[in-house]
Amino acid sequence: MMHGSSVGSRLWIRVFGAPLLIALATTIGLLAALLWGDGGRYVAWVTVGFPVLVIFGIWLRRSRKAGSS
């Protein structure tokens, strides 16, 4: 039972871990610019922009792979 549950939670983390971290970063960034002034703006640029970077990075990697094969 314990074994099954730990496998389940590992699988859950594998599936939702990265999306959760990205969502958390986005949320922090959205609030940062509102709460912390100029410093918060820089945080927002990085963290709210992170999902865009992730997608762009994956698209770029696939394009390069497709180009080289």
Binding site: P19, G37, A44, P51, V54, I58
Partner: protein, 378 residues
């Protein structure tokens, strides 16, 4: 997750998405230029530019009011506003009556130093885009309808997150199965972009919904808080003459220490009573500059009548606005906002494609099965 549960969530996800698809595409497509509305207005020559001045002296509120009335003879002043992001400009709203419809108001920009008329505000093509985005030219009914579409969008996002598990639990994060069919490749992109942008899409979607309730919230505030603020003055006629605006603004500043004036509503307008000015004050931090504090002042004497913090629901509305518009983090945040908007369009478009592709596939399977049952004559 049981197959039946997955099917149930799948039905929720499919239909909440499908019903709202056209309107969400409209909102995303109109929202994209609206992110840069200021820059576009400037480029097209619709953004008034302040004059260059050597001294930091500013025109008094009364000078701006006089200039606004002179620019629009026979009409009345409804509001004067001071935008913290455009300190060189003061905007004045004139209309045929204090409580006339907002759509009939004329907004003009005046130089903050000389009170010289700089030109009209809120005209040009971006106004059409804005109306399409906020109410589709259908007034309050259009706003509430789009709000309902926003709620469906939120349900579609949440059901999408639930379905992310059964669809991706055997895959590594960010897997795109290139060797599979085009439909599977788009399913992977749909899942990936959707789950990566989930927080932003939920925040922008839900704050958009809150914004559609703005007029209802304002009506509630007027019927409760504002009504109790003006109750001691019930039965007082509208002011026979108006107090000097300079005195009104000075007293409002004293009543709300450390705060600056954001806008002033004239007596009889939806934001004040028939006998009072309402000065809406803002703080100087990024957060408090969004949260307004109303100060009620007698229309004839300019004396402070009352001052209270706005209720939670109106504070929530004020905070939801920047989180929806994305205009609070400079140009880089605007560019990111636009990129996320484009990604949302891709998620919506790919969702529609996946639904159509699945229908086509089911149709073909049914036709095959039917063909196998029909005896072939020789």
């Amino acid at each position: 997750m049981k197959a039946r549960t997955v099917r149930l969530w799948s039905v929720v996800h499919t239909w909440t998405s499908l019903v709202s698809t056209v309107f969400l595409l409209l909102l995303c497509l109109t929202g994209l230029p609206l992110v840069f509305h200021h820059e576009i207005d400037e480029l097209l020559g619709y953004a008034p530019q302040p004059e260059a001045h050597a001294s930091a002296a500013r025109a008094t509120p009364q000078q701006v009011a006089d200039a606004a009335l002179a620019a629009d003879p026979g009409r009345l002043l409804q509001y004067i506003s001071w935008d913290k992001d455009e300190p060189g400009i003061v905007m004045a709203f004139t209309n045929s009556a204090p409580d006339a419809a907002p759509d009939n108001a004329t907004v003009r920009a005046f130089d903050a130093a000389s009170a010289k008329l700089l030109g009209p505000v809120g005209v040009g093509p971006m106004l059409i885009v804005l109306k399409l985005h906020t109410d589709m030219f259908a007034g309050q009914a259009g706003k509430l309808f789009l709000g309902a579409m926003g709620l469906l969008f939120a349900v579609a996002i949440i059901s999408g997150v639930v379905l992310y598990w059964p669809f991706t639990r055997r895959l590594r994060f960010a897997t795109i199965r290139d060797s599979a069919s085009r439909r599977v490749v788009w399913l992977d992109w749909h899942n990936l972009i959707g789950v990566v942008t989930v927080a932003w899409a939920l925040v922008v979607g839900l704050t958009g919904v809150v914004n559609t309730w703005a007029e209802l919230m304002l009506s509630q505030w007027k019927a409760t808080e504002l009504a109790s603020m003006v109750a001691p003055y019930a039965g007082k006629p509208p002011p026979s003459h108006l107090a000097s605006l300079d005195g009104v603004v000075a007293r409002a500043r004293r009543a709300a220490e450390g705060m600056e004036i954001a806008f002033i509503a004239f007596p009889g307008t939806p934001f004040s009573s028939s006998h009072h000015f309402a000065a809406f004050m803002r703080g100087d931090t990024p957060l408090t500059s969004r949260l307004l504090k109303p100060v009620l002042l007698d229309g004839e004497t300019g004396e402070v009548a009352d001052s209270r913090a706005l209720p939670m629901y109106l504070q929530a509305l004020l905070i939801s606005q920047p989180l929806h518009f994305g205009d609070y983090g400079g140009m880089p945040l605007k560019v990111i906002w636009a990129a996320l908007d484009v990604l949302t369009i891709i998620v919506i478009g790919s969702g529609l494609y996946l639904w159509l592709a699945r229908r086509r596939k089911r149709g073909a399977t049914r036709a095959d099965a039917f063909a196998k049952r029909v005896p072939v004559s020789s």
